[in-house]
Each structure stands twice: as structure tokens, then as C-alpha cells.
Symmetry: C2
Subunit: 357 residues, 2 copies
């Protein structure tokens, strides 16, 4: 049975990425060796790294003065790398979900943290507005998409003259971004780019070197900039797969086209939810709704049917729609590689389920 | 042409590992999804993680009270994680090569470092003996195999009552180890285990919690112990491949059998080098020679033929034998998955080359 993959991450990748990766596991770039066992210093892999970096720059229109890094360790490691490199005295953070909470916790080890806005009071089901970023902060950090709660900030925030740092783990490449507004953008690869194991970091070079503390070598962005992400052995296969996805993105028309498709998919599902008798979205303000992760639940009178619907959908090849325990209900992740046909299959399953109950 | 893969890392993996990984990239465990796009929380991947952990414990006879972790970030990240977690006041380090130098550099950010022995005076071409580990050190750190220089400590060192920490990145699973003597063993997976992107850490649980400093969450071993290496998204595919290698190791007869084969391969190559007119080993003391990485050069009178021999070997499918720039000449890495036939092919190439020059 064909599967519709709605996992929140690791999550669906393009068939182009999967097919080319499978081939490279057998024979990488005609070397006669597997991508699993080839040196990261081989000219064939160095070419992969260079093309991947160049394509990120092209797709996101990264200006001069920025470096694109592919690191190991996951976005969670960035929660401490950012303050290690940038927090001299005080940082401002926006608290919009579990990952923001985790990022704030790490920053507090390094200096004063001003949480300028939070939606914790309503289980993070909205994006706070109307807050002020203190202009003496070293940087302002926010999470553009909250995977668990299904909220998203779909524009570049303005923090005045304060450096901007953004965790774009779950929505990078889903819209054009004005990179020049940011000092650090980071994203775990396992949503919109590659299998788990790599993290992409886009960093403005002149934002570095302004803190006094000693920084462990591996946690210092300058180490990886200087060595083109080859200071130590990088996660070779995840970077190879990332390159395949980036090529596919370019061929599909780039991030503007991806955004158009993502909006169409999200609209289809949100419309089905909003017009339904049985389901309701957990994020009420439409402007705050994520186009990557759609969170919804059964209305109170149908609550006991949630488990049954997960099984009903699974019988139709729909996997990964169980909501995170912090929200409950369902979460359908609509990452770039998910075809609209999968959203249609989910909407049909919802409609059929409603008709039969 | 069949390739003989002598890369120092990432390096040759068993055909069992490669074939099963290629299949899982297409369909993982009958899920209908690729291992690249399946949730780390899926029951199928949780089973992979559990079996991999159990097999490490079985193969290395890890006693109770130890945790086996699969982390991202590479062994280089361990260079700071070890002192973060264990260095309260002073640590002792042995300096036997580039990676030891890097580990020492990181430890110095955290406290006093006593370099108790070094072979830097002879470009690390021997293992220092007869040194004393200060009994007031928090731990003693050494590198069991020096990939770049071809030296190896093929027994468990004794540091008295001082905690023992060992970087076994390039020789783990090549001999039985008495894990009970160590507090931390770590190893980048990309030599004897898996593709790049995962690091295995074996840690004695009661060695932790004795330092006062705050530890960033991702760098605290206790975080990963508590969450069974699932605090954040782990490097899914590298761990899947690691499991395949571990299964293959068990089927081959375990580390005792692997050691026997590794010794036979190394003996074959060292004998060819030592009996040759043209080549010579860079490590003179036979007791210090690595069975994983065999470093050799052309004798001074033939020095200008080194480049020619690399090409001569490449024409016979022999790849990855160019020595690291710190040593020059050649390095043949004979990791567990390398068949003795590849060593025979290299020895034949050496003999033919000598005959024709």
C-alpha cells in the first residue's frame, strides 16, 4: 500500500533524494565505493559539500559576508552554540514552544535572558504580538515555526538594531527569507532537507568574535567557517542527501514555488478542518497557523474517537498524524516533499470518517 | 574494477552493512518508508536503537552501571564533553598524536592539564612508556590508536585509582576490552562501525555529577543517558548502519575473531614492508605498531617514486593509501571490514612495483 508520510521529523523527502541516496549507498559518483565508506576528503565528496553550500546560497539568496555550514549534533546543539558565540551580556528571546523553552534554558547559562514575549499562557497556541525587543540586547532569538504547536511566523521579524537569530528547523526553504536581516539562521536538516544527522547554519561572519569567553573549538562557528565545515568528519550521507533535495528544489522552481505549493496544501487541510463537524484546529488565529505542521483535535463531543481515527487513517496508508503529547489529537506535517495527493487522501479519510460516525 | 578501500575514515564497511542500508533507504523494516524519512520515535527505529545498544554491550561485555550512547557531533565534540563532565580541577593526558593534541587543547579550557607523556619529539612515531599518572588527577585520557601516525596501545592501560578515559575512535571492536577499567570510552563511528555522523560513548554512570560547573544540556552525558540517546533527534541512518555492522560482527564470531583477522592482515603487510628493498615503516618499535593503520614511506633513495606508486596502486583498484600530510608516504587502513584479499592486492602491487624499478 502506498504510504502518505505526515511525520513531523524525520519526515518525508523527495523521491529524487531517496532514489539518488539509495544508488549512492551502492556506488557513489562512479567511485566504485559506497557513500557510506568514502573519505570526506575525496574529491568527489568535497564537490558534494561545495555544491550543497552553493545551492543553499542560491536558493535563499544568501548575501556576501555570510557562511553556510553543515554541522553535526542537531539544532539542539545550536541552543548552546548561539549564546557561546554571541551572548556577551544579555539576550532577548521569544517563547513560542518547547524548542524555544529549551533554547532559553541554555542561554541562561551564559548571561541574562529577557523573555520579551511568550504564549505559554495558552499552551503556545498563538504567536505573541506587540512586544518590544530591548535595544541593548546582544541578539534576539525566535523560532519561526513551532513544530509541536502548529504556529508559524511567516515573515522576517524586525528587531531594530539588535542582531536577529532564528531557529528555522521546521520551515526553512518553505518561503523566501531576507537573510540580510539575520545574523544566525539554523535548522536541523531532518524536516525540509535531509535525513537526521546534519544541521545547516547560516552565519554573518562579522557577528562573531565579540564575546570574551573561551569557546570550545567545536562550538566556535569560526572553526567551521575556516575549514569549510570540514574541521572534523562531517555527516557525509546526510549532506549528500541534502544536496539531492537542494537540486530538486532548484528544479522545482525554488522557494517561491515551494511556498505556493505549501500554502495550497495547508489551505486544503485547514479548510477541511474548519468546515468539519467533528474536527477543530488548535490554533485559532489564522494568521498564526503553520503551513508546515497542521494541529487539530476532535471537538469535545467526539474526543473519544481520536484513537479510532488514527487507526482509520492508518488503514488508508496515512502515517504519522498522531499529535504530540503536549497538544494531543492530530498533527499533519506538510513539508515541501509531501505531495498534495497525500493531503487529499487525509481530507478524504476525514470526510469518510465523519460520514460513518 | 573491484576497489580495495584503504581509506582512514570514513572507511570500508561490510557488504552486509552496505546492502542492508541500501535496502532500508528504499524500504525500512517493511514500513513502506525510507529510513531517511521515518520518525526516530517510530517503534521500528526504537527497536533499532535498542538492539544496537544491546549488541555493543554484548560484544564488548559492558558491565552493569554503564550506559551506551549514540550521539551526533563526532569524536571531536567529545574532546570538550569529557572535561565538561569530568574535569573538576586537574586532568592527566597522554600526547600521542594530532587528536590527543586537540583533546588536550579543549581540556585546558576547563582546568589544569598535566601532559604526563608525549611522543611529539619524534613526530609521534612511538608510544611513550614509563610515565606516571598523578593520583590526584580527575581522570587520565589517552588515544588508543593514532590514525595519522600508525601507533596503537593494544592493551588496557592502568592509571591506578584515577578514572580512565579513552578515545577508541579508530580501533574500537578490534580487540576485547576490559570496559570495567574505564569511566568513558568514546569513538567516532566512521572507522570500524558506521558511516560518519554518529559517535558511540560508553560511560560509567557514577563517574558523573562530580563537577560544579553548569553543563549545557546537550553536552551533559546525563541528558542522553536519561533519554536513551533520544533527547533530540539522533542520527538515524548512521545508527541503523551501525546496527548492521554489529550484527555482522556477532555473526563473524565477535571481537576475538575480528582481532585474530586484524592481526593476520597487519602481519602480512608489515612483513612485506620490513622485507622490502624500497619501503620502510614509520613506526620502528614493533610493539607500538597499529594493526588498524599501517604507515610506511619509500626509503630516502626512492623517495621521488612515492607519487608514482600511489598511481600504480590506483590502477589496480587500490584507493586511499596516500599518507596523511603530517607523515607523508603511505597509510593503509586495515579496518575490520577490509578483507585480507585487499591486503594481498596491496602487497602484490608493492612487489610488482619494486620489480619494475
Amino acid at each position: 500500500m502506498h504510504k502518505h508520510n505526515f511525520y513531523a521529523g524525520p519526515s518525508i523527502l523527495s523521491q529524487y533524494t531517496i532514489k539518488n541516496t539509495a544508488e549512492a549507498v551502492i556506488d557513489f559518483a562512479g567511485t566504485g565505493l559506497s557513500i557510506l565508506e568514502v573519505s570526506h576528503r575525496s574529491k568527489e565528496f568535497v564537490a558534494v559539500m561545495e555544491e550543497a553550500r552553493a545551492l543553499v546560497k542560491e536558493l535563499l539568496e544568501v548575501p556576501d559576508g555570510y557562511s553556510v555550514l553543515f554541522l553535526g549534533g542537531g539544532a539542539s546543539l545550536q541552543f548552546c552554540m548561539v549564546p557561546f558565540n554571541l551572548l556577551a551580556r544579555k539576550a532577548a528571546y521569544m517563547e513560542t514552544g518547547t524548542w524555544a523553552v529549551n533554547a532559553i534554558k541554555e542561554a541562561r547559562l551564559f548571561g541574562e535572558v529577557d523573555v520579551v514575549a511568550s504564549s505559554k499562557d495558552a499552551n503556545f497556541n498563538y504567536i505573541p504580538k506587540g512586544f518590544t525587543v530591548p535595544q541593548d540586547a546582544d541578539y534576539f532569538h525566535y523560532t519561526s515555526n513551532n513544530t509541536i504547536y502548529g504556529t508559524e511566523i511567516r515573515h522576517d521579524l524586525d528587531a531594530g538594531k539588535v542582531r536577529l537569530v532564528c531557529d528555522m528547523s521546521s520551515d526553512i526553504f518553505s518561503r523566501p527569507v531576507d537573510v540580510s536581516k539575520y545574523d544566525v539562521i539554523y535548522a536541523g536538516a531532518q524536516k525540509n532537507l535531509a535525513p537526521a544527522g546534519a544541521t545547516i547554519v547560516i552565519v554573518r561572519e562579522d557577528a562573531l568574535g565579540h564575546v570574551e569567553r573561551p569557546i570550545p573549538t567545536m562550538l566556535d562557528y569560526r572553526t567551521h567557517i575556516k575549514k569549510d565545515s570540514m574541521f572534523n568528519t562531517p555527516p557525509v550521507l546526510p549532506i549528500f542527501s541534502a544536496l539531492q533535495t537542494l537540486r530538486w528544489y532548484k528544479e522545482q522552481g525554488g522557494v517561491k514555488e515551494l511556498e505556493k505549493r505549501d500554502i495550497a496544501k495547508a489551505d486544503l487541510l485547514y479548510e477541511a478542518i474548519d468546515s468539519s463537524r467533528m474536527f477543530e484546529g488548535t490554533v485559532k488565529d489564522h494568521a498564526d497557523r503553520s503551513i508546515m505542521n497542521v494541529c487539530f483535535v476532535m471537538k469535545p463531543e467526539y474526543k473519544e474517537l481520536e484513537k479510532e481515527f488514527v487507526d482509520f487513517a492508518a488503514a488508508r496508508g496515512i502515517v504519522g498524524i498522531k499529535g504530540h503529547r503536549s497538544v494531543g489529537g492530530f498533527r499533519a506535517s506538510l513539508y515541501n516533499a509531501l505531495p498534495i495527493e497525500s493531503v487529499r487522501a487525509l481530507v478524504e479519510a476525514m470526510n469518510e470518517f465523519q460520514s460513518s460516525h
